[in-house]
C-alpha cells in the first residue's frame, strides 16, 4: 500500500471525500446490522426491563433448554426446512419451465405481455395476498366452498382450522406469487445464449425438445446452481408474511404453519418472552450462517467459479 503513495498528503485528500460519501451508509449498517449482532447475549439472559438489558441476570443456556424442551422447536424447525426445500425444488423447476416457454414465443410483444401478467402477483403485499386467499377460502362465502364444493355436493371445508391442507395451500400460494418473477433471471440467461448454437443443432436435425435438453438446460446449469445455493443459505429463514398473515395467525394451524420467524414474532410480541424469542432468533442466525459457509465451501471445492465468495 505505502509503496504506491506519491506523497503523504495525497492519499488522504483522495480517500477522505470517498469515505465521507460512504459514511451515512456505513453508519446505517453499523447501527441497523452490527449493533444488534452484539445483542445476541440477550439470548443468555433473564431479561428484566426493571434491571435493564445489561443489568439482567445471566442464566446461561436456560433459554435454549426451555426452547428445545417444547415441541415448538421441533415443529418450527421441521416446517422451516421442509417448506424451503419444496419451495426451492418446485420453484426452480416451474421458473425454468416458464422461462423456456416464454423464450419460445415469437414476438417480443407477447413475451412482454405475459411477463407483465406473471410478475404482478409478486408485486402485491402479503396483506393483499392474504385477502385474495381469504376470498377463495373463507368458510361461509369463500369461492371454493360456495362455488365449487357446494355445487358439486361435496362437504365444505373449514380451511382456516384444518392444518392438513396448509402444506399444499402454502406451496401453491408461494408458487403463484413467486414463480413468474423467479423465471426472469432464467429468461434473461436463455436470451443470452448464442442463437447460432441452436441453428447448427437444427441443421443436425435436433427438434425443439432435444435442443432444450441438449443446449438450453446445460447452459442454464451455472445460473441454477448459483440461485439454488443462494436460497440454500437462507433455508433457515422464511417469509414471515406468508406463514403469519396468509393463514391469518390461526392457532389451529400452527402444526403446519409455524416457522422460526413466526415463532420469534409470537414469542416476542404476543407471549412477551424475550429470552426464548432471542434464543430462537440466535438459533436461526447461527445455523443459517453455518449453512451458508458450509454450502459455499462445498461449492468452492467442486467448482470455484460458482462459489458465492
Amino acid at each position: 500500500m505505502t509503496a504506491r503513495r506519491k506523497s503523504p498528503a495525497k492519499p488522504l485528500k483522495k480517500t477522505l471525500p470517498l469515505l465521507l460519501l460512504a459514511a451515512p451508509g456505513l453508519l446505517y449498517f453499523l447501527i441497523n446490522s452490527y449493533f444488534p449482532m452484539f445483542g445476541v447475549f440477550i439470548a443468555f439472559k433473564d431479561v428484566n426491563y426493571a434491571k435493564g438489558i445489561f443489568g439482567s441476570d445471566w442464566i446461561g443456556l436456560k433459554n435454549f433448554t426451555f426452547l428445545f424442551q417444547t415441541s415448538d422447536a421441533w415443529i418450527m424447525t421441521r416446517n422451516t426446512l421442509l417448506y424451503n426445500l419444496v419451495f426451492i425444488a418446485l420453484g426452480t423447476v416451474v421458473s425454468i419451465l416458464i422461462a423456456i416457454l416464454m423464450s419460445e414465443l415469437l414476438t417480443k410483444l407477447y413475451s412482454k405481455l405475459f411477463m407483465t401478467g406473471l410478475i404482478l402477483p409478486n408485486l402485491i403485499s402479503m396483506i393483499v395476498l392474504s385477502l385474495l386467499v381469504f376470498a377463495f377460502l373463507n368458510a361461509d362465502s369463500g369461492f371454493v366452498n360456495h362455488s365449487i364444493l357446494r355445487p358439486l355436493g361435496l362437504p365444505e371445508i373449514n380451511w382456516y382450522s384444518e392444518p392438513k391442507y396448509w402444506p399444499y395451500l402454502l406451496v401453491l400460494i408461494q408458487l403463484w406469487k413467486t414463480a413468474g418473477y423467479g423465471s426472469i433471471v432464467y429468461f434473461a440467461s436463455i436470451a443470452g445464449i448464442d442463437k447460432s448454437i441452436y441453428e447448427s443443432a437444427k441443421i443436425d436435425g435436433a427438434g425443439k425438445l432435444k435442443q432444450i435438453r441438449m443446449i438450453t438446460l446445460p447452459l442454464l446449469k451455472p445460473t441454477v446452481i448459483v440461485l439454488v445455493l443462494m436460497s440454500m443459505g437462507r433455508i433457515f429463514n422464511s417469509d414471515f408474511g406468508l406463514f403469519y398473515q396468509v393463514p391469518m395467525n390461526s392457532g389451529a394451524l400452527f402444526s403446519t404453519t409455524q416457522t422460526i420467524d413466526t415463532y420469534v414474532y409470537r414469542a416476542l410480541m404476543q407471549l412477551n418472552d424475550i429470552g426464548m424469542s432471542a434464543a430462537a432468533g440466535l438459533y436461526q442466525s447461527v445455523v443459517g450462517f453455518a449453512l451458508v459457509l458450509t454450502v459455499n465451501a462445498i461449492v468452492k471445492k467442486v467448482n470455484p467459479e460458482n462459489a458465492l465468495f
Binding site: M126, Q245, M269, S285, G288
Partner: protein
C-alpha cells in the same frame, strides 16, 4: 425466421401454456375486483363469484364517505414510500460509489462490511430492543422508514456492480484531471450515467415501502400512523374477531361502522392500484436489473 412444423407446434404450445398461466395469475385479482363491486347482500347470499347477481358501487361510496381514514392511510403510505425511497437511493448510491472505485484503498473493506450483513444478523430481538429502548422510534413515522432504509445489502452491491461495469474509470479520471472533486464526479457524472440502475433499485425500494406492514406490526400501535397495508390488515383481524365470536372495534374508533366484505375488497383494490402504475416501468427495467443483480460481486 423459418420454422419447421415441429417448431411451429411447440411455439403454439408455449403460447397456449403461457396464456393459461397468465390467466391463472390474473384470476384472483379479478375475483376481488368483482367482489368489490358486488352488492353486499348478493355477496353474503351467493359468496364470492365471478358472475354476481347485482353490481353495486356501495363499497367505493362507503370509502368516500369515511374518506378521512382511508386518505390518511394512503397519505402515510405515500409519504413513507417517497421519503424512504429517496433517502434509501441517496445513501445506497453514495455508499456504492466508493465501493465501485477500484482505485480506492478501502473499496474491498466496504464491500465486506456490506456483504457480511447479508450473511449474519443478530436477529429481530436485539434489533427490536435497540430501536425501541435506545432510539425510541416506537409510534413515530421514523419507525416506518428507518428499519427498512437499506433493507439489505443486496441493493448496495447491485448498484456497485452497475457503477463498476457501466461507467469506465477513465471517465472519472478524465473528469478529475479537469478539476472535478469526488462529490462533483459522483453527482454530475456517476449518477446521470446510472439512471437505469437508479430506476430499478428505486422501484424495488418503493415497492418494499408501499407493501411494508411488518414494521408497523412491530413498532406502531397508533392507528393514525397506519399505512394502507396496516389498515387493511386491521380490517382482516376484525374478520377474525367476528369469526371467533368476539366483536372488535374497527379502526379503533367507535364512529366507524364495521365495513362490509365488499369494502375490504375495494380497499385491497385501492392498495393494488399504485402498484399497477409501476408495472410498465417494472417491465422495462426488471430484466436488466435482475440480471445485473445476479452477477455476483
Amino acid at each position: 425466421m423459418i420454422q419447421t412444423r415441429g417448431e411451429r407446434t411447440f411455439t403454439v404450445f408455449s403460447a397456449a401454456v403461457m396464456l393459461l398461466l397468465t390467466v391463472f395469475a390474473f384470476v384472483p385479482f379479478l375475483l376481488i375486483v368483482i367482489a368489490s363491486i358486488t352488492d353486499e347482500t348478493a355477496l353474503v347470499r351467493n359468496g364470492y363469484s365471478f358472475f354476481p347477481e347485482h353490481l353495486s358501487l356501495d363499497a367505493y361510496r362507503y370509502i368516500r364517505s369515511s374518506a378521512y381514514v382511508f386518505v390518511r392511510a394512503y397519505g402515510v403510505s405515500f409519504l413513507v414510500t417517497l421519503l424512504g425511497t429517496a433517502a434509501g437511493l441517496l445513501i445506497t448510491s453514495m455508499l456504492a460509489y466508493p465501493m465501485s472505485r477500484s482505485d480506492f484503498k478501502y473499496h474491498n473493506v466496504l464491500a465486506f462490511v456490506v456483504f457480511f450483513t447479508m450473511l449474519f444478523s443478530g436477529g429481530i430481538v436485539p434489533s427490536y430492543i435497540m430501536w425501541t429502548q435506545y432510539f425510541h422510534i416506537k409510534n413515530t413515522l421514523l419507525a416506518l422508514i428507518l428499519p427498512n432504509l437499506l433493507a439489505n445489502g443486496f441493493n448496495v452491491l447491485l448498484v456497485r456492480n452497475y457503477f463498476k461495469n457501466n461507467v469506465p474509470l477513465e471517465i472519472i479520471e478524465a473528469a478529475q484531471i479537469d478539476g472535478a472533486s469526488e462529490l462533483r464526479t459522483f453527482f454530475r457524472i456517476m449518477l446521470p450515467l446510472s439512471m437505469p440502475v437508479m430506476a430499478t433499485v428505486g422501484m424495488f425500494m418503493g415497492l418494499a415501502y408501499w407493501n411494508d406492514w411488518i414494521n408497523a406490526l412491530y413498532f406502531v400501535s397508533k392507528p393514525q400512523l397506519y399505512g394502507i397495508q396496516n389498515l387493511l390488515m386491521q380490517l382482516m383481524t376484525n374478520i377474525q374477531f367476528l369469526n371467533s365470536g368476539q366483536a372488535g372495534s374497527v379502526l379503533g374508533t367507535a364512529t366507524v361502522q364495521l365495513p362490509s366484505t365488499a369494502v375490504r375488497m375495494a380497499m385491497a383494490v385501492l392498495g393494488i392500484v399504485p402498484v399497477l402504475f409501476v408495472l410498465p416501468f417494472m417491465q422495462k427495467y426488471l430484466t436488466r436489473g435482475v440480471v445485473i443483480g445476479a452477477v455476483k460481486g
